[in-house]
Amino acid sequence: MAAMMASTAATTAALGCVASGQEVGRQVCTTQKMYNGLRVATAFPGQKKIEESAFASIKIRSKAIVTMAVATDVSRFEGVSMAPADPILGVSEAFKRDNSDMKLNLGVGAYRTEELQPYVLEVVKKAEKKMLEAGENKEYLPIEGLAAFNKATAELLLGADNPVIKQQRVATVQGLSGTGSLRLGAAFIQRYFPGVKVLISSPTWGNHKNILNDAGVPWSEYRYFDPKTVGLDFEGMIADIKDAPNGSIILLHGCAHNPTGIDPTPEQWEKIADVCQEKDHMPFFDVAYQGFASGSLDDDASSVRRFVARGIELFVAQSYSKNLGLYAERIGAINVVVSSPEVATKVKSQLKRLARPMYSNPPVHGARIVANVVGDPTMFDEWRAEMQAMAGRIKTVRQRLYDELSTKDKSSKDWSFVLKQIGMFSFTGLNKAQSDNMTDKWHVYMTKDGRISLAGLNLAKCAFLADAIIDSFYNVQ
């Protein structure tokens, strides 16, 4: 205590205050001063008279009143403001707080069973059991991650027989699921393509902007969602991609676009590839749902493979959160497909240089699970079956929701977008006020952009959800 008082006194003497001789009574005066560009906040409660100090010549920038504290200094983090809750993850938090009987969490994209329970894949449990019995050690992985995982993940994405794999033209680095892989890719772009802009779809997954901002990469949007058709604004998309300066980077969702669920058709993908080649753009695919969208790993990778087959150099971020249910293990990869194996080696070495000061090397557990599942033919088949079941349940629920909406809605509104959209999410077309109504009146939790996660819906609640959507759509502006 004595030490604390002594240091407070020393602080007071060292820092000075507002003006010499100023009375500071119960009202605490907090002064903020600039020292070498650092803001240091101090409070002088209970000081009757403040001496002039050597620092009195330093300009006082601002004053703020702080509640009376015991004789301690005010925090240097006093100016830190409360951050808003994450728009997506905050939804689940709000859902948990809701005590209503009839509530539905259609917020975050995590798969739920028909009983609306979280689901750990059987094949994952098998893999973990196998790993525990094998008694493997917990040594550091190399910076680029588990070699067996990296090999498996590139082959899964591109096909084991893909020429680019055979020619060793893919640089693969294990990443912290989709987010971490995107962040590595963005950091690489910031360093090696400085000033190059990334074009993202409007709308896109909210975190894309945060990732690019924190990586220091400029971005702009290309048109994507057409609210009139609740479908793809293909012409707008093409026009905006054509408009971008040559050599831009185009962020594309490989399948099951998040948040809209709207994917380009194969013909549209060809056209997008044409434009990318004409403009020398570099695609950056975000592949978070391979196998989860259609149920087929190969079909869901067709957009990426299409581009690769044309010889286009590109980035791909992968995630195993959804398709292997490994949300908590943070397992994914950043792949860079380039024109020669020499370049691939160099690119990989530079990705490592970016990973080392971020987390040194990636976590081993999820990587081992994936490597085990993909490396064992029986487990791989079991995985395929479980993935098809998950994708199938979502399609079933989409059908039921569509049926309910069509039956209950007496108008001629076309709800078929529910069927046409693919993957975990559906963009309902509800606006913010309508989405708020969904939550406030119906206890249906969703993101404010009108996105619902079909993975959080079951057949039993489709009727209820249809009622909520119809009410919100027609009765709220």
Partner: protein, 446 residues
């Protein structure tokens, strides 16, 4: 696959060759960068990065076919048999986890496993910590020590004006990359005295006094890496006074709690003395070494604030740093650590295993010292005994290190640091031979 694709590619190339007719006339043909037909790459300008100086040692070691090779590079514990060790308590915790039917693999909160965060803060600050009782500590799960340092750096860059961090010379190499990339430039302070192979205490104090008010100061909580040189309790007190008098912000890197002396509380002393004075600080913890959870990447960042209100706001802002980096941390390591920290028996067993690891390292120190003395190797080698923790700063220079690697297949970092954890009774004589030969300037045996 569309049959027109090769034609399309050819047509595109032809079109560009037509457009490039000017350059064609000058005899230059510039292939379209994304043509993919043995063409230049848009990544052509990228250079091969060198291997990481620390992790690259293991890469080089693995390539060496010699049966005599010894890896004293990365700080990972090895048994007397030279094998990696998974602690018994870790295996037990994993078995429990697998058997627990209430477990699933849902996303953790952005800040990680809550129970882990709580227990981790208690471990470093003490169960009776006033700061914890007053809710002045915000703790987030992080990707081991590196991740905790990086999140802390990015937070400071966003919320602490234009921060500068002062780091000891030498320090763990990765510090000098983490902070600048996180937005915090690095400046040095004197630390290691090559003459005494101990702490340059006065140099350190002088540098801290000269550093600006409000600067961030990186402190190794215990078992300084790479030197193994720690301040005494009195010296810590002197350091604390200077830092507090200059309103500097301590950032503790605590990667070896329990591993240095064998006692968790002893190794936490420096951190706790700073927190006891009511001041603020950041603390990065790692469970890589003390729980042997290297590959699971489990650690924590704690920020001790003046008030609960500030701590709450800081917590909210830490989430904004984490979300665009990796969204939420990996659960597995956190659940294992929380299990061990939270179960009285597992915790007790852990302290025993921890002490055994620390004791083996101390015994390696004694054996190496004794062996060098027995060989009559010139020089004062008492620093091997005085230094603490996983590493010894031998005092050898890069040329000497390269000699040892080339001639004796001893793998270590060029700064002369050796990992005692990588030694055994069997390999110490070989290392002693190598040091002896190096110091005597002998030609080695190939």
């Amino acid at each position: 696959m569309s049959g027109s694709t090769p034609e399309r590619r050819m047509a595109t190339m032809a079109a560009h060759l037509r457009d490039g007719e000017e350059t064609a006339k000058e005899g230059l043909i510039v292939p379209w960068p994304t043509a993919g037909v043995a063409a230049a790459s848009v990544f052509e300008h990228i250079q091969q990065a060198p291997e990481d100086p620390i992790l690259g040692v293991t890469v080089a070691f693995n390539k060496d076919p010699s049966p005599m090779k010894v890896n004293l590079g990365v700080g990972a514990y090895r048994t007397e048999e030279g094998k990696p060790l998974v602690l018994n308590v870790v295996r037990q915790a994993e078995e429990r986890l697998l058997a627990d039917r209430t477990q699933n693999k849902e996303y953790q909160p952005i800040t990680g496993v809550a129970q882990f965060n709580k227990l981790s803060a208690q471990l470093i600050l003490g169960a009776n910590s006033v700061a914890i009782k007053e809710n002045r500590v915000t703790t987030v799960q992080a990707l081991s020590g590196t991740g905790a340092l990086r999140v802390g750096a990015e937070f400071l860059a966003k919320h602490y004006g234009k921060p500068v961090i002062y780091v000891p010379v030498p320090t763990w190499g990765n510090h000098n990359k983490i902070f600048p990339l996180g937005g915090v430039p690095v400046k040095p302070y004197h630390y290691y005295d090559p003459k005494t192979r101990g702490l340059d205490y006065q140099g350190m104090i002088d540098d801290l006094r000269a550093a600006p008010v409000g600067a961030v100061v990186l402190l190794h909580a215990c078992a300084h890496n790479p030197t193994g040189v720690d301040p005494t309790e009195e010296q810590w007190e002197g350091i604390r006074k200077v830092i507090r008098s200059k309103q500097q912000l301590p950032f503790f890197d605590c990667a070896y709690q329990g591993f240095a002396s064998g006692s968790l509380d002893t190794d936490a002393h420096a951190v706790r003395s700073f927190v006891a004075d009511g001041g603020e600080c950041l603390i990065a913890q790692s469970y890589a070494k003390n729980m042997g959870l290297y590959g699971e990447r489990i650690g924590a960042l704690s920020i001790v604030c003046r008030s609960a209100a500030v701590a709450s706001r800081v917590d909210s802002q830490l989430k904004l740093v984490i979300r665009p980096m990796y969204s939420s941390p990996p659960a597995h390591g956190a659940l294992i650590a929380a299990s061990i920290l939270g179960d009285r028996d597992l915790f007790a067993d852990w302290t025993v295993e921890l002490k055994a690891m620390a004791d083996r390292i101390i015994s390696m120190r004694h054996q190496l010292y004794d062996t060098l003395k027995a060989r009559g190797t010139p020089g004062d080698w008492t620093h091997i005994l005085k230094q603490i923790g996983m590493f010894t700063f031998t005092g050898l220079n890069p040329e000497q290190v390269q000699f040892m690697t080339r001639e004796y297949h001893i793998y270590m970092t060029l700064d002369g640091r050796i990992s005692m954890a990588g030694l055994s009774t069997k390999t110490i004589p070989h290392l002693a031979d190598a040091i002896n030969a190096t110091v005597l300037g002998l030609q080695g045996q190939s």
